[in-house]
Amino acid sequence: MMYVIVDVYPGDSIDKVITDLNSWFRLFSGKDAIGSELKVIAKYEGKGRVVIQVPSNLLKYLRSAVIMAGRESDITVITVKVTGTIRKALAIASSVPYLFNEFVE
């Protein structure tokens, strides 16, 4: 499994982005993703950050989906970090500054 930390701006559009990510992920992965799914491990609502679990062989489809997500609604979606353990992912997610701090002010 791989864990992907994604930052979203504006921060309150997390749910919309997760929906978008799922549908683009399905489109890119096609039959490869039969029987597997994206799993939201942690959501930092106030912060606009989400940690998503994805099977390693399907990571490239999630990363591709990040390029497409949010476009119709002017939402920024940026991968912050990809790691192989949930422990590391959560540590990074709670320590690395939100990418859009300067935009929030």
Partner: protein, 202 residues
């Protein structure tokens, strides 16, 4: 391992917050496509002239820019511009099959040392048909020997920004091509060549 430096050659904003976001994502060099006095301190920024159908006269100003690209508006114009010394790159920034360089024109571009720049934001904003276009363009032109392909994001506001590493993945998923050089080495070399052609010593 040497850390990759990403290059964005189609930046339409000098917003300080945007620039520092790009820097955090690993961008080390940008080219601004807007005019005016835009002081950017965080990153080396070059000035790029983008010539379109309505602004063909601007080619006369090319000396005061570091880089010149053309968004071709017809096959005829493209033919003429491919052999123009003042042009460094041909830019594709919309889903428009009619004005893409033909195979012969692309080979001529390779000979003349002109790059093909693909600006992905306006293309993939078309959703699935944009992805199909992007796939076909990269598949077609990556087979042309010696043609330098450059991929820019095309950023003018924060919602345009994506992680360049994800763009590499997207292009790999679509085409199987390793796109890393397309967002790092190739645009860097394009810029260096353009500066060299203008007589700037590096």
């Amino acid at each position: 391992m040497v850390k990759t430096m990403f290059v964005e050659l189609h930046l339409g904003s000098a917003d300080r917050r945007l620039i520092s976001l790009l820097k955090r994502l690993g961008y080390g060099l940008v080219a601004l496509i807007i005019s005016g006095n835009n002081d950017i301190e965080e990153l080396p920024a070059f000035r790029k002239l983008v010539i379109t159908k309505g602004s063909a006269w601007k080619i006369g100003l090319s000396r005061s820019f570091d880089l010149v690209s053309v968004v071709p508006w017809s096959r005829f114009a493209l033919n003429k511009l491919i052999s123009d010394d003042r042009i460094d790159a041909i830019t594709v920034n919309e889903v428009n099959r009619k004005v893409l360089p033909s195979k012969a024109q692309a080979r001529a571009m390779a000979r003349e040392g002109k790059a093909l720049e693909i600006v992905i934001n306006p293309i993939v904003s078309n959703g699935e048909s944009g992805l199909a276009f992007l796939r076909d363009v990269i598949n077609d032109y990556s087979t042309i020997d010696g043609l330098r392909i450059v991929v820019s994001q095309g950023i003018s506001k924060v919602s345009d920004v994506r992680n360049p590493r994800d763009i590499v993945e997207l292009i790999r998923v679509l085409t199987g091509v390793d796109a890393k050089p397309l967002i790092s080495e190739n645009p860097y070399e394009l810029l260096v060549d353009a500066l060299y052609r203008r007589g700037v010593c590096l």
